[in-house]
Symmetry: C2
Subunit: 202 residues, 2 copies
DNA sequence: TTATTAATCAAACGTACGTTCGTTTAATTA
DNA sequence: TAATTAAACGAACGTACGTTTGATTAATAA
């Protein structure tokens, strides 16, 4: 056999990327083999090379695309809030909403930096930093206006991001809570912590 | 060559486990090869089998030992606090202090559940659940006594753990902040969140 | 309809994998 | 010192790896 009936390049391309994500999550990038990937797509190993330059560039493509899409999605968000409080709530909602829908990408982005080449890693790290800055600046602004108490901006940024991204590791669509409920709970935790309830806030 | 001068079983055993941790963090468990591991230890691949039954049991041993040690360390902690506030602060301090010192184990425990066999995975998951319950119960108690406002206990537990464990991913011993400073900041974030400062708390 | 391009295949390349085997040397015990 | 045990070795097993090559068929353009 050679070219199969009904085969379309764009379709195969997407199938390869989708299957690659699933396999990387399941086995890790280094451990995923192109033979597994080919089998998942329903194609011979050699055919993969019509769509990727090498195994390494496949990972780089997945990760940079994820970061680009994430950054662009935040930029495109209509209502980012006015006051620091509103901005922080908007960020929390956006981050959770976006990430739970892309749990495979998030898992890969968090785990496989180690497997990127030097250039690709630098690129992804820079993009991650750029995204983190969005939250950092909201916190900075809030502290400046006096809406938020003094705090270490770097640690607070990392802490909030870790907490929000952590949802990806336990969230299940069929679970007890909807995404919107989860967002509300996290907004409460971020804004007021565990101890300070509404009754204590202004 | 055969037995080498000065070779001691216990020493080699420890060297194997230490090198395995480093390699698993760097490459992922599936991608780590026993030939790499042997080279790191300075031994032939075949010699590894004097200390492990198989590659799979090596991972299981690393992960269950990590969970056992963690659970036991919390149990052995002297001052777990009296009031819910104090207990929560004690947990935050313990968790960060313990985890930043064992970043490799934490990374492996978080990443390589997927590579465990069914029995070992069930065991590790149960132990993780048991550890999480320590925090869960502190929160539950605090809500019951009225020290903490009503909240979703499950989500709050996961959120706090994600935030605290997240420190492992950026903490560096030579970094700007000491572990104790990082603990204080996180105690503030957990107890009062970003918005509610001391000036608003009781 | 014919020529061209797109999409796939089968086969093979050298290399490395986890693991087993029997042997050899060092340290310990009798 | 002699016998035993501990700790390593080198070589090999069948299998699978990422990738390259050239041929083959399907869809499209002329």
């Amino acid at each position: 056999m050679a070219r199969t009936k009904g085969s379309v390049g764009a379709t195969t391309q997407k199938a390869i990327l989708d299957a690659a994500k699933t396999l990387i999550v399941k086995h890790g990038f280094e451990a995923m083999t192109l033979r597994q990937l080919a089998a998942e797509v329903g194609v011979q190993p050699a055919s993969i090379y019509r769509y990727i330059e090498s195994k390494d560039t496949l990972l780089a493509a997945l990760m940079t695309e994820h970061m680009d899409t994430l950054i662009h999605a935040w930029e495109a968000l209509e209502d980012k809030g006015e006051t620091p409080d509103e901005q922080l709530e908007a960020f929390v909602a956006f981050h959770i909403r976006y990430h739970v829908e892309r749990r495979e990408d998030v898992f890969i982005a968090n785990m496989e930096l180690r497997s990127l080449g030097e250039a690709a890693r630098a690129d992804v790290v820079a993009k991650r930093r750029a995204y983190e800055l969005n939250l950092w600046r909201i916190l900075e602004e809030g502290v400046k206006t006096g809406d938020f108490p003094e705090t270490d901006l770097e640690v607070a940024t990392y802490a909030i991001l870790a907490m929000l991204t952590g949802v990806c590791f336990w969230y299940r669509p069929e679970g007890r809570l909807t995404v919107e409920q989860i967002i509300e709970i996290h907004q409460g935790l971020v804004m007021r912590g565990v101890v300070s309830g509404d009754f204590q806030a202004v």
